[in-house]
């Protein structure tokens, strides 16, 4: 069983090596199939592991295996160790399953790109990193996966490296993630200092870190910093929308289904440490709540189809943060799973639209595509209904599981519930705005001119993974039904005991309220965007400052520019102008020319006459002899 887990981990790594060594010796489609096939192998192995765990006693489902001692420093030994428990298996299934579908889709999507092989290798590398992250048996190995995930996302975001914007976006993502990595590392250092170990069970069991002590707060804060950066939560969220510069399957894989949920996984994994510092856990929930609202509002005015979905990703991860911040780990992971399904679905459907319109992403130039692309339209509707949390689509069950748990979690719970409920309204509004603008109404002249379709719209290679995801988006939520069964919670509980459950009268209220808000959102979207209307235009004219604030994304980029980039760049310019230029560059030139002049003068001593050399020697010896005589 452990062997299967190792296979799941190393299959994508083998694919990377094979593609890299194969080089031009293998065709592009073979590279694609290698990458997708390795993800499939991982998925099958994960299913095997899952099946074995299912047959075991719920309290004995944790297994670990160490291949060798990876690092050792004094008493500290860190092994190349994986841990298989319900939480990691849950993540393995999501990562490898959704990852496989996206990699398969990418074979069709990237077909014909100049550097297709490199792309598939990067994607397999990403899946490997992500599996390493979720399977790691100690914090340092988890950090290794964490960093590699950041690296592969950097490589994939600026995959089209001839585009300056893509390179800038890649750097932005990398730097923001590096900030989170740094706080994560500091937390690990502190843990090592306190507990002398990085093993999960040792760290989580040890009572060295006191409840509510400064150390526990710092550790949780460091972990939270890493989680916030990786999961694009306020205030470290600005990299995610820009990361949409990468190819669409990348957006689906990294920025929707897997990587951005790593922060949620981290908090669920280290829940013991977060419970030692309740303030920080609350902070995680509050950041999630703020992100739900900010991202939802910004998504209302975006005009790039992928950016709308990206902001919705941030907002949905906000829900997961609310859940894990309130201790409802099962609900958070449940939403993580359903979100992976429907968000990958939405991204991939958007990818088909973008492909069909010759790489156009601006929704103002789209419209009326529903009739031309019935399949894409239908799957997009499934994804949108699921995202908007309309029953019986999967998003309904998972989102209401979170909101119901929030309603049972005290005052903070109710505050976050309010944010989540408003978020539900916003989600429905921006999702259906997108749907109506892109698929309803009349075709724009641009769309009519550029639309070109293959059979099955994007081609069969792209259609079938999308179809499977549509099915999963529909049924995926039935794992956990209110007043019915609680499969996800029961599965996760041995690893991360949920502190808040969705039950009772508050759940009824919560479900009805959020459902009403979601329907209201859809209705409003229909009133404004589903038919010719001048309301959006009039609102914009009446509230120009609000529109501007949203279009500028609450000025986060500008603020960071002002706070970090501007001072640094001004300082650098100042130092160049007043220190480097006069002091170093000028003095270097001066130094060189004076040395040259001195050596020119010195070289005239070398006359080339052997006689003079001999005389110099003889004179020197004579002087020495006289000195000797005088001294002795």
């Amino acid at each position: 069983m452990i062997a299967a887990a190792w296979i799941a981990l190393f299959a994508p790594a083998a694919a990377v090596v094979a593609i890299a060594l194969g080089g031009t010796g293998i065709t592009r489609s073979v590279a694609g199939f290698l990458a997708a096939g390795s993800a499939l192998v991982s998925f099958v192995a994960s299913v095997v592991v899952f099946a074995v765990l299912l047959g075991e006693n719920p309290d004995e489902r944790t297994h670990s295996s160490t291949l060798w001692t990876w690092l050792s420093a004094g008493d500290l030994k860190i092994g190349a160790e994986i841990q298989v428990d319900p939480l990691s298996v849950f993540m393995m299934l999501v990562v490898s399953g959704v990852g496989f579908l996206i990699l398969a889709y990418a074979v069709g999507y990237m077909n014909g790109d100049a550097e297709e092989r490199r792309y598939h290798a990067y994607k397999a590398l990403f899946v490997f990193s992500m599996l390493l992250l979720v399977e790691a048996g100690n914090l340092v190995l988890l950090l290794a996966g964490w960093g590699m995930v950041g690296l592969s996302s950097y490589l994939l975001i600026n995959f089209w490296h001839q585009r300056a914007t893509a390179v800038a976006a890649g750097k932005k993502a990398f730097i923001m993630n590096a900030f989170g990595d740094a706080t994560f590392v500091l937390a690990i250092f502190l843990l090592i200092q306190r507990t002398g170990s990085v093993e999960f069970d040792a760290v989580f069991r040890s009572d060295v870190v006191e409840h509510g002590s400064t150390a526990s707060v710092l550790i949780a804060l460091g972990l939270l910093g890493g989680a916030v950066a990786k999961s694009a939560q306020v205030p470290l969220h600005t990299w995610l929308p820009d990361a949409m510069e990468g190819p669409t399957p990348v957006s689906a894989l990294i920025h929707a289904a897997t990587m951005v949920t790593a922060g949620v996984y981290l908090i669920a994994r280290t829940n013991v440490l977060f419970e030692l510092a309740p303030d920080i856990q609350d902070l995680a929930g509050i950041l999630g709540g703020v992100t739900i609202l900010l991202a939802g509002l910004i998504a209302l005015v975006q005009t790039d189809i992928k950016r709308v979905i990206a902001y919705s990703t941030m907002s949905q991860i906000g829900y997961m943060f609310v859940a894990v911040g309130l201790g409802a780990y099962g609900s958070g992971l449940f939403h993580l799973m359903t979100h992976a399904f429907f968000k990958a679905l939405l991204f991939m459907a958007a990818g088909i639209v973008i492909h069909a319109l010759s790489d156009e992403q601006d929704i103002r130039r789209m419209g009326g595509l529903g009739r031309a692309m019935p399949f894409t339209y239908r799957v997009f509707v499934v994804g949108a209904l699921s995202l908007a949390a309309i029953p019986p689509f999967s998003g309904f069950f998972s989102k209401d599981s979170i909101l119901g748990a929030a309603a049972n979690a005290g005052t903070l719970g109710w505050i976050l519930w309010t944010a989540g409920a408003i978020g539900a309204f916003l989600t429905a509004l921006y999702t259906f705005r997108l749907l109506f603008i892109v698929f309803w109404g009349e075709m724009t002249p641009f769309a009519r001119e550029h639309l070109h379709l293959k059979r099955f719209e994007g081609g069969l290679a792209m259609a079938w993974p999308v179809a499977i995801l549509a099915v999963l988006s529909f049924f995926g939520g039935w794992l956990q039904v209110p007043w019915g069964w609680d499969l996800v919670n029961e599965w996760i509980d041995p690893v991360a005991q949920s502190a808040a459950e969705a039950t009772g009268a508050t759940l009824v209220f919560s479900v009805l309220a959020s459902l009403a808000l979601a329907v209201a959102g859809i209705w409003l979207a229909w009133r404004w965007y589903g038919r010719p209307s001048d309301v959006p235009e009039r609102t914009r004219r009446r509230l120009p400052w609000a529109a501007r604030t949203l279009e500028r994304k609450f000025y986060f980029d500008e603020a960071y520019d002002l706070a970090f980039y501007e001072p640094a760049s001004r300082k650098a310019i100042f130092l160049t102008q007043y220190v480097e230029q006069p002091l170093f560059l000028a003095s270097l030139g001066e130094l060189g020319s004076s040395v040259r002049a001195a050596s020119r003068r010195l070289s005239s001593l070398q006359t080339g006459y052997v006689r003079e050399y001999a005389f110099a020697l003889a004179a020197g010896v004579a002087v020495l002899a006289i000195v000797f005589i005088l001294v002795t």
């Binding site: 010195l602 070289s603 070398q606 006359t607 080339g608 006689r611 003889a618």
Partner: protein
């Protein structure tokens, strides 16, 4: 101990050395310069052997023998250089060989 004392030998040695050094400095023909060099070496040898005889030890003689060996080797190299120069039809004059002027 018969014969003149060590001072006489040393005076001869100084005269020989000065002659050699003077020759090296003022002559232009490389052959003569080489010859003058040999005189300087032999002046040294003479002083070594004079001291060896005064102290009655063999150390100075061994030094003198070593110097002779080195002098022979040096003469070979020096004459070889002179032959090589003359083969290139360059005038044999040390003052004309000034390629290394800085």
């Amino acid at each position: 101990m018969p014969g003149p004392g060590v001072a006489a030998y040393l005076i001869l040695s100084v005269i020989l050395f000065a002659t050699g050094a003077f020759g090296v400095l003022i002559r232009r023909s490389p052959l003569i310069v080489l010859l003058a060099l040999e005189i300087m070496l032999n002046a040294g040898n003479l002083a070594l052997i004079a001291f060896a005889r005064q102290t009655g030890t063999g150390t100075g003689q061994i030094f003198a023998l070593t110097v002779m060996v080195v002098a022979a080797a040096e003469a070979v190299v020096g004459l070889g250089l002179i032959v090589a120069v003359s083969r290139r039809h360059v005038e044999l004059d040390v003052d004309k060989l000034t390629t290394l002027r800085g």
